[in-house]
Amino acid sequence: MSNTAPLARYRTMRRIRSFEERVGELFLKGESAGSMLHLSIGEEGVVGVTDAMRPGDSFTTHHRGHGVFLARGADPARMMAEIAGKATGYCGGKGGSMHIADRQLGHLGANAIVGGGIPHVVGAGITARNRGLDHVSVAFFGDGAMSQGILYEAMNMAALWRLPVVFCCINNQYGMGTRVDRSAGRVAFAERARAFGLAGAWVDGADVEAVHRMAADLLAGARAGQPAFLELSVYRFYGHARMDKSPYRTPEEEAEGRRRDPLATARGALLAAGIATEAELDRIDAEAGAEMDAALAAAIAAPAPAPEAMFRDVYAPGTPQPQPQADRLRAILAEGSAA
């Protein structure tokens, strides 16, 4: 274990956990835009994948993608503002938690349609190939998307055209309230990918260093034209969304699942390897907490979008724009019939 990277990954995972906890607070304070907030607590091991990506690489996420985006360099204050539906958010308050994106960081969009963002990485792969760029595009999605046909269409295309693409399934064991063994006849997802001609692997998502080793190999392969599939096995610590108290699973199961904690695992490994002391890790934890407290406060203080902003960006500037209802009614009623 070299020293700096594992410690940095711990820090990133802690920042994700702290961020998601503040998202929960945002909701409890009544400051979030809606309750469709899907926390990735328990899934922080995905940092092993995002750490294997490079500048220029692109990605799409599912509805539970806060952690991935933060790990790819997102500004937590702008993220939190977007989740609060504020003008200072990444999408000006029009996308929210489930549609956050950032062109500069290669985030081609979170998606609220299960599997909806998966084929976009195929197109990004075509762009990289046609322009001779050394870029990989990674689709992050959950186990629910393993039941969507679009995944198989996209994996087939990636294999057929040998595109620099990685499909990353974060299997948190539940599609909303349905456990994965109640939605799949055989829960060996990497086998499916291998049958399509992809490199396919499974890894314990609670062990970020194991994830990173696996992801680094698979991304290097993808860059060389061998698209890949990676399943991270994790446990969703909380309900599907903020309103879900998970009545469909037992307290015993949850307690067992939460023992598979990527943060606790990483902390233990860092201490055992003598890379960091308890005090150093505590300081990282406190810094992450303070950073996310500030992001939360900034989001709450940020202004809401101006009402007229809703008509912008439906189409590109300089092209015909949607007609506001008031303008339409004025044209019909205020001056009588108008040619």
Binding site: S58, T60, G89, Y90, C91, G92, G93, K94, G95, H99, A101, D102, R103, L108, G109, N111, I113, G116, G117, I118, P119, H120, V121, V122, G123, A124, G125, I126, T127, A128, R129, N130, R131, S137, G149, I150, E153, A154, N156, M157, L160, W161, R312, D313, V314, Y315, A316, P317, T319, P320, P322, A331, I332, G336, S337, A338, A339
Partner: protein
Amino acid sequence: MSTTTYREALRQALIDAMTADADIILLGEEVGVYGGAYGVTKGLIELFGESRVIDAPISEAAIVGAAVGAALTGLRPVAELMYVDFAGLAMDQIANQAAKSRSMFGGQMGVPMVLRSQGGTGRSAAAQHSQSLEAWFLHTPGLRLAMPATVSDAYHLLRQALTQPDPVVFLEHKGLYALKGEVGDAPDAPWGAPAIRRAGSDLTLVAWSRMVHESLAAAEALAGAGVSAEVIDLRCLNPLDLGPVFASVARTGRAMVVTEAALTGSAASEIAARIGEHCFDWLEEPVLRIGGEDIPIPVAPALERAAIPTAALIADAARWLVHREAPPWA
């Protein structure tokens, strides 16, 4: 000016656009080696190579989805759905992904892609290969929608579509591919503006795609019966510029909107409503819609023909509207 066909005009537009812009790629079923189910992309794989003319598996959703991803990352893809009837397989990628990305992402990224497809009747292709589904796309904010009726528009609207910053659904008509005509040196009207195909004073006929030709044939027949019909070809349904239509109706006082699509919930219904709202004071008669029957298209040629408007039906309805002459079937 050069005389060619609708099919060749489309093909030439692709060749000229791809020659001018190396970011344009074609992606679809049978677009490469086969040359396109209707021959529009014939020979393009030889001209531009497999990396730009991409034969895709039969995966409509991922074809459109890959085009969205390519567009988000800087290319200008032309995704092809062999028949517009296959849009159902790809509708999430069209309506939730391509259409909404710019807005959801606050304007950071657009999806400058063209979704080429073709629809309509005329080949006894039956219920799943003959529909006119433009209303599906018209009803989705974020999409542009172009439907060329003429050979010149086949070329120019496709070239214009390939310069748009937002996704354009470009719907050809399977019954027009063999149509002969001239490609003008310039478009007949700006992008999104209608073109008056025949001037008239008694009645305004509004149509697009193949129904422009049925409306023109009806107008010719009506001229012999003492009815002067103006025929307006909308060319694009989004952007939808009805200003020239309102101006025409202000002169004629009567309007009929003609569509090949099943009438209920059709684009014709929307356009008729707008004419009614904006031209109320000038209208002598109700705005009439003439459309396809509200049925799945049958395969039997006689039934297929009877399922959609003909020039005779349009002319009958027009005489009734203008001269109160009831047609024999009434």
